[in-house]
Symmetry: C2
Subunit: 330 residues, 2 copies
C-alpha cells in the first residue's frame, strides 16, 4: 500500500465513529473473513463497527467467531463505509442505499483486477491472492495486535480464495502471511477441515447429477446445474457450482471449465475456471461479470440453452484471440 | 536434529566417496523429491551419488529435474547407503542386497511414527510433515546452498505428503520451509498443477457415472464402479476409485465412504475412507486386506451385489463396536 493511500484510509477511519463494513452478494470465505477481522480491529480502536452482507453467511463459515452478528439490514447513521472484496458497487446488493449513503465516504478494498474503482478511496491490489491479505496489512497499519480470532478469520479468507494455496495467485507473500496468521494462533487444520475437506452430502449428490451433463469441445469443458437438480439434491447456495467448476478445470484435456447454473427469474449464473496462461476474466467482464484470470463469473438473462450458446461462442472467439496474441506477442 | 545425530550423519557422509540413495517401493512425491534434492546436494560436495528406487517414478513426478537418472539397478561399490522416507527395510525392495551391503553403513532418514530404526544411524522425526523437510534441514547442515532445482524437488515432496498443506501434520515449520523453498526458486504453482490439480478427463467422466450410484445409510456412504463404466470412460487404473472414495468421505453427513470397483475374474476391489476418529483398517484386515485407520482396502470374490451386502453388514457391526468402545472406553 503506498503512503498516500494509507494516509487517506487511516484518516477516514480516524474521523469516523460508526463504520459500516460490507461483504458482497453470494459471500465467500474471503469477504466474510475479511469483514470479521477488520470489524474486530476497528472495535479494538474504539469504533462502532456494523458488519453487513446482502446474503446469508454460507454454512462452511459458521465456525468463524462473530459471524452470527453479520446483518442483512444495517440501521442508523454511518460516517464511513468500507466495502471488502467487491469489484463493483452492484456486488454490495441492497446493503448499499444510494440516497442514504450519497454523502458518506466509501473505502473500496479489493484484490480483483476487474475492480471498477467505485469508492471515494480505492485500494485495489491485484497482486494479493485474497482481500484477507490486504486486511492483514491494514490491521498492521492501524497498530492493532492480531488476536487468534482475527487470525482465524483472515487465514480462512486466504485459504478460501487460494483453495488452500492451490491458485497461481499464491505467492511468497501469501505464504508468509499465512505463516504469521498461524503464529498468531489460527489453526490451519481447523480451517482445512471446515472449508476444504468437507461439503454437504447434498452438494455431492448435485455434482453427481451435474456431471451427467458433462460436455467438452476443443479444450473447453462444461456442465449444467438446473433448478430441478438443485431441488432434488436440496442445495440452495452457489458454492457447489464454484467447486464443480474447479474440479472440471482439473481435467488434463481442458484449458477452460464452465458451469452454467439455472437461477429463478430466468437467469443463469456462469462460473469460469481456467489453467494458468488462459485468462477468463476478460470474457466474464465482456458478459457483464468480473473476476480473476483463472476464476471469474457473470449472470445472464435467458435460458440455460441461450446462455450456453452465447458463452461458448464468446469463449471460442476469446480463446482464438488469446492464442493469436500468444503467437504474435512480444 | 540433535547435535550428536547431526555429527554422526555428517561424519558418515564426509567419509564416503560413493553413496547410494534409496527411495521406497510404490514411490510417492516425498521420497522421489527427497532423493533428487539430496543427490544434488551430495554432488555439490564432490560425492558420487547414485539414486535408486525399486519401482518406476510415477508420471506426475516426471517433471522433476534428474528423475530420469533414478535407477532400478544400482551397480558398483558404495561406502554409504541413505534410505529416504522408508519406515522398514522391506520398503527398499530389491535395491537393498543384504549380502553385498552387510558391512556398508546405512543412514535411515524418515518421518513415519512407525519407523523401526533399521539403520546404522536413524534420524526419525515424526513431527516433520514430510521427509523433504528433514532433507531441507540436512542440506543446510551440509552447508550446500539451495538451488532452484533442489528447492523444486523438496517442495514437491512437502506438497505431496501434506496433500497441499491439507493434512493435520502441516505446521508453522512446514509453512516456513515451504516459503523458504519458494524464495529459493521453487514454483508452487507448477507443483500444484503437476501434482494436485490435474486428472484425466476420463476419470472425471467415470466419477460422474459412479456418483449416479451414490447411496448412504446412517453415516456410511458408498458408490460403485462397474466394468462397463470403466470401459465407457476409458479408465484402466484404480487411482480413480481412491480419489472418489476420498471425495465421498468429505460429505458432512458421512463417517465412512466405500467405493466398490468391479474387476475382471469376478472380483471386487473395495476402498474405504473414514474421518479421523473412525478406524477402517480393522474392517479391511478382517476382510483380507489392510491399510491405515483412515484409508484401507481389500479384494473380495463374487459380484458387486454380494460384496456390497457383505461389506455393509461387516461395517455396521464394526462401527457399532467402535461406538461401544468409545462410550465405554478409558
Amino acid at each position: 500500500m503506498d503512503r498516500a493511500l494509507r494516509d487517506a484510509i487511516l484518516l477516514l477511519i480516524r474521523q469516523a465513529r460508526r463504520i459500516l463494513l460490507i461483504a458482497h452478494v453470494a459471500p465467500d470465505g474471503d469477504c466474510i473473513g475479511s469483514l470479521l477481522a477488520l470489524g474486530q480491529a476497528l472495535r479494538a480502536l474504539g469504533k462502532q463497527a456494523v458488519l453487513a452482507c446482502p446474503d446469508p453467511v454460507p454454512q462452511p463459515y459458521h465456525f468463524l467467531p462473530g459471524q452470527e452478528a453479520i446483518t442483512r439490514d444495517p440501521v442508523g447513521e454511518f460516517q464511513l463505509l468500507i466495502s471488502l472484496d467487491s469489484s463493483d458497487i452492484s456486488r454490495l446488493g441492497d446493503i448499499y442505499r444510494p440516497a442514504a449513503f450519497a454523502s458518506v465516504p466509501l473505502i473500496n478494498i479489493d484484490h480483483h483486477t476487474t475492480n471498477v474503482h467505485f469508492g471515494t478511496v480505492n485500494w485495489v491490489d491485484s497482486d494479493a491472492a485474497s482481500t484477507a491479505e490486504m486486511v492483514y496489512e491494514l490491521i498492521g497499519e492501524l497498530g492493532v495486535p492480531l488476536n487468534p480470532n482475527m487470525a482465524l478469520c483472515l487465514l480462512t479468507g486466504l485459504v478460501s480464495d487460494t483453495r488452500g494455496f492451490r491458485t497461481p495467485t499464491t505467492t511468497i507473500r501469501t505464504m508468509t502471511i499465512a505463516t504469521r496468521l498461524m503464529e498468531a494462533g489460527a489453526s490451519l487444520t481447523l480451517i482445512t477441515e471446515q472449508v476444504l475437506n468437507r461439503r454437504p452430502l447434498a452438494v455431492i449428490r448435485l455434482w453427481g447429477e451435474a456431471l451427467s451433463t458433462l460436455q467438452w469441445r476443443g479444450r473447453v469443458i462444461w456442465a449444467e446445474i438446473t433448478q430441478a437438480m438443485r431441488q432434488r439434491a436440496g442445495v440452495q447456495d452457489n458454492d457447489a457450482a464454484g467447486g464443480l467448476a474447479s474440479f472440471l478445470a482439473s481435467a488434463h484435456e481442458a484449458d477452460v471449465a464452465v458451469v452454467f447454473s439455472e437461477k429463478p427469474d430466468n437467469k443463469v449464473e456462469v462460473g469460469f475456471r481456467s489453467v494458468p496462461g488462459v485468462d477468463v476474466s476478460a470474457i466474464a467482464f465482456q458478459l457483464g461479470g468480473g473476476g480473476h484470470p483463472q476464476a471469474s463469473g457473470c449472470t445472464l438473462n435467458g435460458t440455460l440453452e441461450a446462455a450456453r450458446q452465447r458463452v461458448l461462442a464468446a469463449l471460442d472467439a476469446a480463446l482464438a484471440r488469446q492464442r493469436g496474441e500468444r503467437v504474435s506477442g512480444p
